[in-house]
Amino acid sequence: MLFLRRKTWWPVIAGIGFALIEVASFYISRRPLGASRGYTVIGSIIEYVLMPKHAAKVTYWQVYEPYIEWTIALLVGIVFGSFVSSMLSGEFRLRVVPEMWRLSKGPSVWKRWYWAFIGGIMVGFGARMAMGCTLGMLIAGVIQLSPAGFIFMMSLWMGGANMTVLFYRLKTLALMKRD
């Protein structure tokens, strides 16, 4: 188990492992990997538990029914696997503000968490609009040669690069730091 104790793997090895997991997902679970559906189902569960009469009227929750399902198990598994891996290599450490954010936006915790929440809303809304996230739409769409994946890949890059220039104001583009 020496390779699990290493801090990083060479990127091509990691990519080949990721590809084998994707194929295993097609073989075991009869569907590609996908993550953003899990968060939407969690939202559906929250609405169903807190106000069931209102949740029955929303038509979108007919598609995303309030049952714990495959994608939520996948998210729990990702948290567990990442925790085990970082413990084995000794990289686990609690941190509230990433190093690169501190260099470009300052050390304030509330600012980081506020912007993380705003960005999370945009990501969640955009993922529902595009009917999938980077796993379920980009990777799964591209490997099945669907035009949806390629369109999503291009538009994600356009939005991300332009927003980086607007939000970080170009002056931190020269910073080279990793945490």
Partner: protein
């Protein structure tokens, strides 16, 4: 009392029966654990890597993603031709995916975590993944409550091609033409980006430093 019984309603114990099938929880847990290990070892679930991709400083995502896409494409289509797996195609709605992708990318540039990577970052100890995950849930709820089936939604989902692939659209009789073209492009891109990351970046900085020395 009602809340607890409703919370119990959301869990279906029959999902724990087998490993196979799209509704099995064990399959999701197993695949998720392996994926979490890969995400952490590939150095993917970090804010600085995601943000560095958009700032054109860190090419880890390209170097992991390119072999991922080409190998998974070849294996999935090979197994599909052998009759082992079936394709699970997403719907192609052109305008919705353009606008949704731009919004998704903008949020990704700000928060730095995409849905799978936020879970990996939480496992690694980055606590700022928690408000991001709360934001994903809130975004889904806002979509369902406000946006779904509004006028704008109906307008942008007008061009709906359905569950199609490129070989259906262009009427190509063999999909391996597309796969071979994609693999050749991927290999060239991977060689270029790896050379830049491993070798050319260092040599550029050495050249820059020596020329600066001569200017003095």
């Amino acid at each position: 009392m009602g809340i607890i019984s409703r919370l119990r309603d959301t869990f279906d114990p029959s999902m724990l029966d087998s490993l196979y099938g799209a509704s099995s929880l064990w399959g999701g847990l197993l695949l998720g654990t392996l994926l979490g290990i890969i995400l952490q070892k590939g150095r993917l679930c970090k804010y600085s890597v995601v943000s560095g991709m958009f700032r054109m400083q860190d090419f880890t995502f390209f170097r992991v993603g390119t072999p991922l896409l080409m190998i998974a494409m070849v294996l999935v289509y090979f197994l599909k031709d052998a009759g082992e797996v079936e394709l699970y195609l997403p719907r192609t709605v052109i305008l919705a995916q353009l606008l949704g992708g731009v919004l998704f990318g903008a949020g990704l540039a700000i928060s730095g975590y995409c849905p799978a990577i936020a879970a990996g970052a939480l496992g690694e100890g980055a606590l700022d993944a928690l408000p991001t995950m709360a934001g994903f849930v809130a975004g889904g709820i806002i979509y369902a409550e406000v946006y779904n089936e509004s006028l704008f939604d109906r307008l942008i989902s007008y061009i709906d091609l359905g569950r199609v692939t490129f070989q259906d659209i262009f009427l190509v009789f063999n999909h391996w033409f597309f796969i071979m073209g994609f693999v050749i492009m991927c290999v060239m891109f991977l060689i270029g980006i790896s050379m830049y990351d491993e070798f050319l970046k260092a040599s550029f900085s050495i050249i820059g430093r020596t020329t600066k020395l001569f200017k003095k």
